[in-house]
């Protein structure tokens, strides 16, 4: 069992994680709820951000910093709120100094309504950050050409969205997501944004994605601690199902119970109402 767990580690830029769930730290009702959610979710990484000091805010400054240190979890700073490559690079540099990590979740937002990533800004910022020695995890769409450009820029991990940030809609473009998975089989892909339910997380893990990042789906649920556990379980379930190799979907029914040596065996075609050769309206044709 232990051997199996070791073999199935999530590897991001050479760092190994036993969990495949990444957890955001925003929008919790209180620091204690966040701390408890982290404890039960057991996430690989916690996403964090940077802001000007807000006086009296519980979710920033020394108290939040102390909470992060107490969790002893690896951190993934983001560049949320950046609207240009330059802003994102600057924010990444500040985050690296503050959080002491080369990892950065690169966000460059192009549209204030959908919060859709800016493909051009992403590639530009990724190239610069990679030059500066960052390990870049870009938050992107599922567009294959964009993803390829990001890989060309040196991104070894991608974070395609399921749906716009905070919507909880689940995968809006399953076909494109699955095609991305197929076309980049060696690249760790973490589905980020738009996941609303544990079933969404389970679904993308079944498709072979390497991990899931959730925030609002946990923090804005009625019981974030219970929901954090549900997401952790669903990610594990989906991953296990992927590794197990799902059955191939069939177009017709196939009995799961052996038909040979049935007790009280009878020919199905002789049962009243069950006709094989002469189907009629209102009769069941097996």
């Amino acid at each position: 069992m232990e051997r199996q767990a070791i073999q199935d580690e999530l590897i991001l830029y050479g760092r190994r994680f036993t969990s495949r769930l990444l957890l955001g730290t925003a929008r919790y009702d209180s620091p204690s709820v966040l701390a408890d959610a982290i404890a039960v979710a057991d996430p690989a990484l916690l996403t964090v951000s940077l802001r000007h000091q807000m006086s009296g805010a519980k979710e920033s400054g020394a108290s939040f910093w102390n909470l992060l240190r107490e969790t002893k979890r690896p951190l993934l700073p983001n560049t949320a709120g950046c609207l240009s490559a330059h802003e994102a690079v600057k924010t990444g540099c500040m985050a690296r100094e503050l959080f002491q990590t080369n990892l950065v979740k690169l966000e460059v937002i192009a549209d204030e309504v959908s919060l859709q990533p800016d493909p051009f800004g992403l590639v530009e910022a990724a190239m610069e950050l990679v030059k500066l020695g960052f390990h870049v995890l870009p938050y992107c769409t599922e567009d294959w050409v964009l993803c390829r450009r990001l890989m060309d820029a040196g991104c070894e991990v991608l974070m395609p969205w399921a749906a716009p940030i905070g919507t909880g809609q689940g995968p809006r473009n399953p076909r494109a997501l699955r095609e991305l998975r197929q076309r980049a089989p060696q690249v760790p892909l973490i589905v980020d944004a738009g996941i609303g339910l544990p079933s969404h997380a389970c679904q993308v893990m079944e498709w072979g994605f390497d991990g899931v990042l959730v925030n609002t789906a946990v923090s804005r649920s009625l019981d974030p601690i219970r929901m954090a556990r549900a997401f952790a379980n669903s990610v594990n379930a989906g991953r296990s199902a992927f590794l197990a190799g799902p059955m191939i979907e069939q177009q017709v029914a196939a009995p799961s119970t052996p038909q040979i040596s049935r007790p009280f065996a009878s020919d199905l075609s002789t049962l009243p109402g069950l006709r094989v050769s002469e189907p009629r309206m209102g009769t069941l044709v097996p």
Binding site: V48, S49, L50, G61, L68, A95, T216
Partner: protein, 65 residues
């Protein structure tokens, strides 16, 4: 003479270095700094000269998704 610290006017210290300004502002740790939208590494504060109307951003860790 003033600079803008997180968008608000702040008196420019006599020595004119970023280090002097930060000693005066005394932001709670930990923090990181940008000057005129360029990141300034912690070890270079003493060498970084601040001019009137410069914009200084001091940022702290906060929650994020």
């Amino acid at each position: 003479m003033f600079v803008l610290v997180n968008g608000k006017p702040y008196p420019l210290p006599q020595s004119g270095t970023l280090a002097a300004l930060l000693r005066s502002v005394s932001p709670p740790a930990p923090f990181a700094v940008a000057l005129n939208e360029e990141f300034i590494a912690r070890g270079t504060y003493d060498d970084c000269v601040v001019h009137p109307n410069d914009r200084i951003d001091i940022v702290h860790p906060t929650v994020g998704g």
